[in-house]
């Protein structure tokens, strides 16, 4: 009896979490334009996406920002994780505080604060401002992920390598880096999805000359639902799903 309550509760919540997404994906293949009745399988809306230059541009912009910002955040965040794990330095507590405050503070506050910074500094909103903003909100996730991995391995390994005459860059490249690689890759993939999906912060820091996909979707949905958006959302969802699955696999690997 108790078991069945558990199973039905869990299934109901999963149905709630996945039902709408499944419906969205199924209906992106629906022939019908205006109704929600099923009028047959069709790839019409995917084909019409390919002809929509605006959307394709926004998609390429989004991918570019996501790729570059996640790469930069991963490189810098990995260094940051080492800074926290290995070194003492002035302002370490403040640094920790800032890392966690970025993760906890509401997106909108970060969005408007960066908007004010860029406008006051006279920087035109566009690719560069988006890049800076995305690197900033991805960094803490990389730092925390990689830091957990560094804290998890035996520091004696590093000492042993040094005792055996390895130089500092050799210690890093041959010993440390292979050990933290799964966490670094996971951090990169999760940053990529965070960047690709962000709405609120991007909303404030991009300009009219540089459109990105989530904001394009947002304005399209506000104007009215079209089947193209279904197709677009499906593509974006599948893309993030793949990244999350791989990242999850990599994080799990590290625990073994």
């Amino acid at each position: 009896m108790k078991r069945w309550i558990g199973i039905s509760w869990v299934s109901t919540v999963f149905a709630f979490l996945y039902g709408p997404l499944l419906v969205l994906m199924v209906f992106s293949f629906n022939q019908a334009r205006y109704t929600s009745e099923w009028q047959g399988f069709s790839l019409t809306w995917y084909a019409s996406l390919l002809e929509n230059q605006y959307l394709l541009d926004a998609f390429v912009n989004s991918l570019t920002v996501a790729f570059v910002s996640s790469l930069a955040a991963t490189a810098m965040g990995t260094l940051g994780a080492f800074a926290i794990a290995w070194y003492r330095f002035a302002g370490k507590k403040l640094f920790f505080g800032l890392v966690y405050s970025v993760m906890m503070s509401p997106d909108i506050v970060m969005g408007i604060s960066l908007l004010m910074l860029f406008v006051t500094a006279g920087i035109h909103p566009g690719f560069f401002t988006l890049l800076v903003a995305h690197i900033t909100f991805c960094l803490p996730f990389v730092i925390v992920l990689v830091h957990a991995r560094i804290a998890g391995f035996d520091p004696a390994v590093v000492d042993a390598a040094r005792d055996l005459g390895a130089r500092e860059h050799e210690v890093f490249l041959k010993i440390v880096f292979p050990m933290i690689l799964p966490a670094v890759l996971a951090g990169w993939l999760l940053s990529f999805t965070l960047s690709l999906d962000d709405v609120i912060i991007s909303f404030f820091v991009t300009g009219p000359g540089f459109e990105i996909l989530p904001l394009k979707i947002y304005s399209m949905v506000k104007l009215g639902v079209t089947p193209e958006v279904n197709a677009l959302c499906t593509i974006l969802f599948v893309l993030t799903l793949a990244a999350v699955l791989v990242a999850h696999f990599l994080i799990k690997e590290k625990k073994k």
Binding site: W9, V13, V23, Y34, M76, G80, V102, S105, V109, T120
Partner: protein, 284 residues
């Protein structure tokens, strides 16, 4: 400077500079500008003033803050009510099933909340899928209006934020020592007593973490009422967005942001207070 020191300097300097420039400085700007005067051409100007904070507690705007707090509070309660039993059952699932089930919570955690909100729109709109099904089944004679209601906003907020409640709860419940419950039961406690005196206190840090991770974002997710609620329902997020993009009143929008930051500081303070006391009592 040898190689090691060079690496250290580079790692520390790069990160500290980035956070100082793009987190600390803009954060201080928000606080600073909230005390300055509005200006049409330069956005903000001297003199210092407390006017924006006074305006925030003015009945017209205080109502927005209050509404938003109510939305956040109810959303948090709903997520807790749905998420706690869920996390409990998940943590008691057979060991070999748990990774897959957990994965299924993590996927919506990372995927775009905008896309998931949009999925709700196509379900709930007047000629949407729910109405089509209801009409076809003959359960209703005309479409039920679901979109642009308070209920729709709640569904949207819970839908977006539920995973943020489940994950911290699951983390504490999974680690819980099952023998403690068995001991309580052996000593004659009923299921309810075991829950109140053993399970709930032990899961408190997870409850707090989950509540913070739902309550705070729920204040700022402006696109959810925008897409599901029409214009009449407003969160602090919508208000801040309007101040910056429509009204061009930076200081007022900053003051409202400072309100959110204070809320965050208070909630984190409570969290750390509870979790340090919790850890101390665990040790003794």
């Amino acid at each position: 400077m040898n190689e090691k020191q060079g690496f250290k300097f580079f790692a520390v300097f790069l990160n500290m500079t980035w956070f100082a420039l793009f987190v600390l400085a803009p954060g201080l700007m928000v606080v600073g500008i909230s005390f300055l005067t509005r200006d049409i051409s330069t956005f903000f100007a001297w003199p210092l003033t407390l006017d924006h904070y006074r305006e925030l507690v003015d009945p017209v705007y205080a109502k927005v803050l209050k509404n938003s707090l109510v939305y956040s509070f109810n959303t948090t309660l709903l997520c807790l009510g749905i998420g706690y039993p869920f996390a409990w059952f998940l943590s008691r699932a057979p060991g070999h099933r748990r990774p897959l089930l957990l994965m299924m919570v993590i996927i919506p955690f990372w995927t775009s909340s905008l896309i998931r909100t949009y999925a709700l729109v196509i379900l709930m709109k007047a000629n949407g899928i729910i109405n089509t099904v209801l009409l076809a089944a003959g359960l209703v004679s005309e479409p039920v209006s679901m979109l642009y209601t308070d209920a729709a906003v709640y569904v949207g907020l819970v839908y977006s934020l539920l995973p943020f409640m489940i994950l911290p709860l699951y983390a504490v419940l999974e680690k819980m020592d099952i023998r403690l419950m068995e001991a309580a039961r052996d000593l004659g406690a009923g299921s309810f007593q075991v829950f109140i005196h053993v399970v709930l206190p032990l899961s408190l840090p997870g409850v707090m973490a989950g509540c913070i991770m739902v309550f705070l974002p729920a204040m700022g997710l402006f696109y959810i009422p925008d897409l599901l609620g029409g214009a009449k329902t407003m969160l602090v997020g919508n208000f801040i967005k309007n101040q910056f993009l429509t009204a061009g009143n930076w200081p007022f929008g900053s003051a409202a942001s400072v309100f959110l930051l204070l809320l965050m500081v208070v909630m984190l303070g409570i969290y750390f207070f509870i979790s340090t006391r919790f850890n101390r009592s665990q040790e003794s």
